[in-house]
């Protein structure tokens, strides 16, 4: 039986929607043309948010905070999280974070997390813009806490431990871990619950301090100003007590050398009949070449 309540933090990222890439998705210099791609909630981070909300449902009194590092507009995904059930959001934003690779990002996030001191940190397995799957594990290493990757489902929860089902390539594994820990979640985990009508109406005026300044609207300023739940926190480098040299381009050892546009081409074609024998042969071939399975 679970009696203690959990402090849960979801790590989320706003990413360019690389799933429907048009012709103008890349710029001539090989970098991503962010203007041409809509900014969305990284899909696996939504699976992570759902897992966090399930945890909250299991442990009464728990709180879910979503933490994101990004430019001011990333506050959109914090509001979206609140519409779906998160209690609050924190935006880690500072020009000094710009250009961070996974090492610098995980450093910045771990500084913020050290300040929050959560019991469970949940993140999507990877972001669709970089596909590295490194940030979650690096955060766990920096905080020196256990990590459970590829999570799909919470099997059990007690006051001292959590049991999680991990999806692996050829099956699954059930592992138990003490708190605190980092969990990274697969796309195969349940989809995130939809936005909730009343929560949308309640949290739509939630704003970061810089958004409020930019808006300079009397109503929203007073509405947000009076209500704590409408305040999205904004943390800078100084707020999380981070070391400048480990951040941004300076703190990022990863350098992109070149980017190539790969066009898939079929080399040769093969004709098959619809007979069982032919289909069986094809299946065997695809499995042995790891195209399937």
């Amino acid at each position: 039986m679970m009696e203690k309540s959990l402090k849960i933090v979801v790590l989320a990222k706003q990413v360019p929607d690389t799933r429907n890439v048009g012709k103008d998705a890349m710029k001539a210099d090989g970098t991503v043309n962010r203007a041409a791609l809509p900014a969305i909630f990284n899909p696996e981070d939504l699976n992570a948010l759902e897992l966090a909300l399930v945890l909250k449902d299991m442990a009464a009194g728990s709180e879910v905070t979503v933490l994101t590092m990004g430019p001011p507009r990333a506050a959109d995904i914090l509001r979206d999280s609140m519409y779906r059930g998160a209690d609050s959001g924190i935006l880690l934003t500072d020009r000094k974070f710009a250009g961070s690779d996974t090492l610098a990002t995980s450093y910045a996030l771990s500084r913020a997390l050290a300040k929050i001191n959560p019991d469970v940190i949940v993140a999507g397995r990877q972001a669709i813009d970089g596909d590295t799957a490194q940030v979650g594990p690096q955060v766990a290493e920096k905080l020196n806490i256990p990590q459970v990757t590829y999570a799909e489902e919470i099997i059990n929860l007690t006051d001292s431990s959590i049991t999680i089902k991990r999806r692996l390539e050829h099956g699954f594994e059930v592992v138990e871990s003490p708190f605190p820990l980092v969990v990274t979640v697969n796309a195969s985990a349940p989809n995130c619950r939809s936005q909730h009508a009343k929560r949308v109406m309640k949290y739509k005026h939630a704003k970061t301090p810089s958004e409020l300044q930019a808006l300079n609207s009397d109503y929203i300023t007073t509405a947000s100003g009076n209500k704590d739940y409408l305040k999205i926190q904004e943390w800078s480098v100084a707020d999380v007590d981070a070391n400048d040299v480990e951040l941004g381009l300076v703190g990022s050892p990863t350098k992109v050398k070149t980017i190539e546009n790969v066009v898939f081409q079929a080399k040769d074609s093969k004709k098959l009949s619809s007979s069982d024998a032919d289909i069986n042969e094809l299946m065997v071939e695809l499995i042995s070449s790891h195209t399937l399975g």
């Binding site: 619950r193 939809s194 936005q195 909730h196 009508a197 009343k198 929560r199 949308v200 109406m201 309640k202 739509k204 109503y219 509405a223 209500k227 739940y229």
Partner: protein
């Protein structure tokens, strides 16, 4: 990834109607809830923004969950296990998704945990659910029964039942019996007062009850022993928790298979009286039915939307004789007519819903405070418009969704007849819309007095005097004026005869009025949005030919005509 709100500019257009300002004002009563509830709007813009956001959620759930589940639900259908209905798996998932998104109690006041949204928004949501899966639309749309409780039940009943509905409890309205279908005066289900248990007890049988095993049921029953007509009937509310109503069977239907149509056996079922005794049919069922007819209007429009989209997609994809079939005149003409009927249906749907919305809100307001003479006059005018437009809406939208679905299947050719495409299900689902909640023939009976008393004519002349149309569409306006003149002529001709004459030509007269109204609505819309120009032009052509045909028929009809048709009465089998 589909969103049935964001992908539909026509619905969005109707949400932005100028009358919304008045509607929001009436619904929010000076935004009195703003400090009491964290989700209440503070002003008109805030309210409209909330409506858009929440309708976007509805659109997403419809596009991503309800729509994709429709085929499975149609195939599996509900079953009866131990006298209870078990929904198809997809239906259960639909309910879960909509409840998880907090989309129940759409129009109920916030003090009963509702969203306090205008009827217009509920109609929009209903339409989107109908487009996704019309059968499921019935289960979800029945939450509207709670509005009847909200309007007429005691505070005690309201605080017991309305929060249940806001939390996602499904509803049913138990009216029909084996011998009481269109003629509800014949209802026999017995309600007796039990002194010992201090409650009403219901005994008898109901048939064809949509979602009959829902958590909250409104039941029409005979409370006055020895009576045989409407004056002996009262309205009751029954909570499923008593388990005193058994589902004997569910019907095996042509369409809307996901919606369980139940035969119910009441055995000493405890129930509470809603409102006043003896007013069951006269007052409360009439209110329930009027709301349900708007619901069917929404469902029908949703079905037309679905059918039109399937046809457009298929006609673009399917190639014959070396080109997509949409390029053939026979096909593009059909598609344009379908689109015009779809836009016309929606125009009539929201025009009617706005009228109903305003008078209902005044009725609610009149319980809080005395209405001013102007407000009372306005309420009366909108009530009259609602009475006239509701049967027109039910008649036209349900007939049109059948026509649009029929033509859509035709465009699919042989493929459309197979289970491989959704249109086959849409055609079957559409077929009930002009039957239930009052057949088209009954809508004509409800509408004809607005022909004979001249209230349609008054409204038509009002549209005419607004002269609201784009300058280059004067020819359509002129056509409408001459259609109105023809209408007056044939109405005069028919009403000079006896009541049988009027009944005989009723449908033709009502349809002429409807065609003129719909053309005006589309014409008015095309002054604001260019997209409607085309539909207005196409609909005007269609209306003109239909009106001419009806006028011709009536003019050439003399008194002896009816006897030709009566010959069938002597036919022996």
């Amino acid at each position: 990834m589909a969103n049935f709100f964001l992908d539909n500019k026509d619905i969005q257009y109707h949400l932005n109607h100028p009358l919304m300002e008045k509607i929001v004002e009436l619904k929010e009563k000076g935004f009195e809830d703003k400090d009491k509830y964290d989700y209440a709007p503070t002003d008109f813009e805030d309210a409209m923004d909330s409506y858009k956001r929440v309708l976007t959620i509805v659109g997403e759930v419809c596009g991503d969950v309800v729509g994709p589940n429709a085929e499975g639900v149609d195939h599996d259908g509900p079953t009866v296990v131990n006298d209870r209905v078990v929904y198809a798996e997809g239906t259960a998932r639909n309910i879960e998704a909509l409840n998880q998104a907090g989309l129940s109690g759409f129009t109920l006041p916030r003090k009963y945990d509702g969203l306090n949204f205008p009827l217009i928004c509920f109609v929009m949501a209903n339409e989107m659910v109908g487009r996704a899966d019309a059968g499921f639309g019935n289960i979800w749309g029945l939450q509207d029964c709670a509005e009847t409780l909200n309007e007429f039940a005691s505070e005690e009943i309201k605080s017991e039942f309305l929060p249940m509905v806001s939390a996602g409890a499904t509803c049913a309205m138990d009216l029909t019996e084996p011998d009481a279908g269109s003629d509800l005066q014949a209802v026999m289900l017995k309600a007796t007062w039990d002194e010992e248990q201090n409650t009403w007890l219901l005994n008898g049988v109901k048939r064809f009850i949509t979602n009959g095993d829902g958590e909250v049921s409104l039941v029409l029953a005979r409370s006055e022993e020895g009576t045989t007509d409407a004056r002996g009937l009262s309205m009751f509310v029954y909570d499923k928790k008593h388990l005193a109503v058994k589902v004997r069977r569910i019907e095996n239907k042509l369409g809307i298979k996901g919606s369980p149509t139940c035969e119910l056996v009441f055995t000493n079922a405890p129930a509470q009286l809603v409102g006043d005794r003896k007013m069951g049919l006269i007052k409360y069922v009439m209110s329930l039915m009027n709301a349900a007819r708007i619901g069917i209007g929404a469902q029908s429009t949703g079905l037309s939307e679905a059918a039109y989209r399937e046809a457009l997609k298929y006609a673009n994809e399917r190639e014959q004789f070396g080109k997509p079939i949409i390029q053939f005149p026979a096909v593009y003409e059909m598609l344009s007519n379908m689109k015009a009927k779809l836009h016309g249906s929606r125009a009539l749907l929201y025009e009617t819903a706005r009228f109903v919305e305003i008078y209902k809100n005044y009725a609610h307001l009149s319980k809080d405070r005395k209405l001013s003479p102007e407000e009372r006059a306005e309420m009366k005018a909108y009530t009259k418009l609602s009475d006239g437009f509701t049967p027109l809406l039910k008649l036209f939208t349900s007939e049109y969704c059948n026509q649009v679905a029929y033509d859509s299947l035709q465009i699919h050719g042989g493929s459309g007849y197979m289970k491989d495409y959704p249109i086959e299900r849409i055609v079957r689902d559409a077929r009930i819309t002009n039957i239930y909640e009052g057949t088209s023939q009954l809508q004509v009976i409800a509408a004809i007095r607005h022909v004979t008393t001249g209230s349609y004519l008054t409204k038509i002349k009002e549209y005419e005097s607004e002269k609201c149309y784009p300058s280059d569409m004067d020819s359509i306006y002129k056509k409408l004026v001459s259609m109105r003149e023809e209408y007056e002529t044939v109405v005069a001709q028919v009403t000079s005869g006896d009541s049988e004459q009027i009944d005989f030509h009723a449908r033709r007269l009502v349809e002429i009025a409807g065609h003129i109204v719909i053309t005006y609505l589309l014409l008015r819309q095309s002054t604001e949005v260019d997209d409607y120009r085309n539909s207005a032009q196409v609909y005007a052509k269609y209306a003109e030919s239909q009106v001419a045909s009806h006028v011709e028929y009536i003019k050439n009809s003399c008194c002896g005509d009816i006897d030709i048709f009566k010959a069938v009465l002597d036919e022996q089998l």
